[in-house]
């Protein structure tokens, strides 16, 4: 490009291009982005105090992760759907029907579990493709298509399973859902904390080191391109906090029964999908479609294809969640996945997704899912009734979205 700065022409008084784009607006953007993490920290702190520290006990941390893993997997798919401006109400039923498929293949037909897993994921993908076709190419709102899907796939589950559950599942699947990594290198003593698994600790240290290196490289690259970055103390502070949180969780897990396999799976998924949404062309196109579908179309984005594949992806992740849930219960159950869609959607919105689409982060959805998991877990630890848990979760969802709308309005009012 050879367009030089425009210096010719009538002198235009330097007009303020964007009233309020500095100052308070920046602040509220930051508040909007980091509010969720602060809220998460406060909620954990609250329940830690209320439970006298039981909240952060090794076994409890492990429980929170294992008990919420399938919701978190669904939340990853759901945030993509919501960023694109759609919704998926059928994921609970898809969890059930794919769990049933896995059960039939693994238990009834004694199929080798890796093959059965792959077939189940493909079935999930086909279910996603079915819904994606109606939404993207036929033009029916996702709300309707997936509401229908919610009924269709539940009906299919009942047809396959009748009123019985199928089990037990192969050990490998149960290990993926419920099991822990082996202590290949034995334990090391951590002084007053007692023994902890060396492999888990090493993985933790490597993960933190990788994280620090990646952040540092990203920061230096930005500086090379003379972009604005966080001041060094803030940058280091953020990294130290993140590393401390990760190491704390790892140490606690290493003291209990090593790393849950689902945590490993989740870590891989979060990393992969964060990269996808931030860096991949496909990921960027999701935001473009959700932000302004006409502008995306006229910029050469294949909008229909993007929406279609997002639903395919949701189907595959639902199938993965279906297998993990079935493995955890050790049976494929006709009522499996009931209301999972609500938890996944709530996770996405608590995690900062916008109702209109175009906004959201994978890590936000995970945090949103964990917030609900911690509320569930913490309230049951202090002996609250399930209706009270529901009440609190509903209030948190409303408060989170209200906060989002409020910050947006404040930002908008400065125009």
């Amino acid at each position: 490009m050879t367009i030089a700065p425009t210096d010719a022409g009538p002198a235009v008084d330097e007009q303020p291009a964007a009233p309020g784009s500095r100052g308070p607006f920046r602040f509220s953007i930051n508040l909007r982005q980091s509010g969720i993490y602060i809220a998460f920290a406060l909620i954990v702190l609250l329940f830690t105090v209320l439970t006298g520290g039981d909240m952060l006990a090794p076994q409890n941390i492990s429980n929170i992760i294992v008990q919420n893993s399938y919701i978190l997997i669904l939340a990853i798919g759901m945030i993509l759907v919501i960023i694109a401006g759609h919704i998926d109400l059928s994921v609970g039923s898809v969890v059930a029907v794919t769990g049933a498929v896995a059960g039939v293949l693994m238990v009834d037909h004694h199929m080798a579990w890796p093959l059965a897993l792959v077939i189940t994921l493909v079935v999930g993908g086909l279910i996603g493709a079915w819904q994606g076709y109606w939404v993207a190419y036929f033009g029916i709102p996702a709300f309707i298509v997936t509401l229908a899907g919610m009924l269709l796939f539940r009906a299919l589950t009942l047809t396959v399973l009748g009123n019985r559950g199928i089990g037990p599942f192969p050990d490998a699947v149960r290990t993926l859902s419920n099991g822990f990594t082996d202590g290949y290198l034995g334990n090391v003593g951590l002084g007053p904390l007692g023994g902890a698994d060396l492999v888990s600790l090493l993985i933790g240290v490597l993960a933190v080191a990788g994280f620090v290196v990646a952040q540092w490289r990203s920061r230096s690259a930005r500086l090379r391109y003379s972009q604005v970055v966080d001041p060094l103390p803030l940058f280091i502070g953020k990294i130290v906090v993140a590393a401390a949180v990760v190491m704390f969780v790892i140490v606690q897990l290493a003291r209990f029964r090593n790393l849950p396999w689902v945590l490993v799976l989740l870590a891989v998924l979060v990393l992969a999908y964060s990269l996808l949404t931030n860096r991949a062309v496909f990921g960027r196109q999701i935001y473009a479609v959700g932000g302004n579908v006409q502008a995306a179309t006229l910029s050469g984005v294949k909008v229909k294809s993007v929406v279609f594949w997002i639903f395919v992806n949701m189907g595959v992740l639902s199938a993965l969640a279906g297998v993990i849930f079935a493995g955890r219960l050790n049976q494929a159950n006709p009522t499996a996945g009931n209301q999972f869609e609500l938890d996944a959607i709530a996770a996405a919105f608590i995690g900062g997704a916008a109702v209109q689409g175009g906004v959201g982060k994978v890590i936000g959805a995970i945090t949103g899912g964990l917030i609900m998991g911690v509320i569930n877990n913490g309230m049951s630890l202090i002996g609250a009734q399930s209706e009270q848990v529901m009440l609190v979760k509903g209030a948190v969802l409303l408060a989170a979205v209200a906060f989002d709308v409020w910050t947006k309005r404040r930002a908008g009012a400065s125009r």
Binding site: M1, T2, I3, A4, P5, T6, A8, G9, P10, A11, V12, D13, E14, Q15, P16, A17, A18, P19, G20, S21, R22, G23, P24, F25, A221, R222, R224, Y225, Q227, V228, L275, N278, R279, A280, V281, F282, R284, Q285, Y287, A288, G291, N292, Q294, A295, A296, T297, L298, S299, G300, V301, K302, A354, G358, V359, S414, R415
Partner: protein, 510 residues
Amino acid sequence: MTEAILRMRGISKSFPGVKALEDVDIEVLRGEIHAICGENGAGKSTLMKVLSGVYPHGDYEGEITFEGEPCRFAGIRDSEHRGIVIIHQELALVPNLSIAENIFLGNERAHRGMIDWNATNAAAAELLRRVGLHENPVTPVIDLGVGKQQLVEIAKALSKRVKLLILDEPTAALNDEDSAHLLDLLRGLRDEGITCVIISHKLNEVLAIADRVTILRDGKTITTLPAEGLTEDKIISGMVGRDLDHRFPPHEPKIGAEILRIEDWTVHSPTQHGRVLVRGANLMLRRGEIVGLAGLMGAGRTELAMSVFGRAYGTGISGRIIKDGQEIKLRSVQEAIRHGIAYATEDRKRYGLNLIEDIKRNVSAAGLRKLARRGWVDDNEEYRVADHFRQSMNIKAPSVLSITGKLSGGNQQKVVLSKWIFTDPDVLILDEPTRGIDVGAKYEIYTIINRLADEGKAVLFISSELPELLGLCDRIYTLSAGRITGEVPRAEATQEGLMTLMTAGQEVPR
């Protein structure tokens, strides 16, 4: 006649970090049409929002006196109660409700909570007669064109016993005929004693209709002048603070070989079966040439451009596109971009930008693959590219991470242009690139267009502003009712001549 119906004194309004209005005084006389002129960002809309109570009392400093009484509006309902009604640029009608329902929306003709439909429709019919709209009150608003919808808005204002009618850019979306009708209507309302305040960028219109003109610049009142004896150049010099010898940058065209030829291009309407939008159009563009496409609203300019741009609009498209001597098929926007064709839309907010995203991601939206290797985007390179455009296109924003929705119209347009220039096209189709942006930004855009042509690109410049076409283009096609009615070199083009061609062979509008 000389009594002031409205006095606004010392109005100041600040947003965080910016003074939008600073000590503005304005006096509107009873029964006059008062125009407010100023660049985008001069504070016109903010002033009208203060007046109509969108910004309630206490949100601003200063005093408002209406009909001799001080006013402290808490909201729009307060100001409407006093007879001040504002009609915004984006019309506020409910598409699926009838004309009558829209007119009395929030103000229903009801008896004990039940709507009296006979009274509603009869009253609506009477109001429609007053605004000269010959439509059945039960017709859904969605079936009306923009011009008629505007009249429904005015009928709605009349139903509220309006004394002071404020119109924000009322003719921006109207064709000349509808504009003329609207202006006539405003004159009629003035004769009935209704005072009008009109905000407009179309200075010829302002001069044609206004009794007095107030010019705002940078949130301050510059002057109020009687329209008699005023000229466009005088208004412009008040708006930008200096005399404008030439509104167009000088340009010596370096015209090269033919690059794009469109032959026998026909487009049918996707919504109305059998309606032909473009009929057998032939166009030719050369490297380094800026070619104008002149046509009134509804002539099929946008439809022609978008159908060429990978069939982004229309059905039953036929004809040939020949680029660099070879026939090409453009079945999708992707193919059009790949073949070096870019189309910058006339409606940047709806079709051009992702307003919730930052400048960076908007600039890269169409050319993202150029920044990616194996599907992964290099976001540092993206930042560099966007920042390059921010500087070279003079996009006024603190950084490329600024949200595009917060930028002024001119800066948004520069983002749209950056997006398309980044795809490195051979042919740029620019659809009304200067619509709704201020004079200074227009000049910058003209300069950019000239540079693009000098780089050897062909530019198809669509506009309904004749001076702009004459000032910028090397050659001008005229389009009327879907047909190319003329091709005029710059040297031979006159406003009158073009207008004659632009209205040639037109059927009488419905």
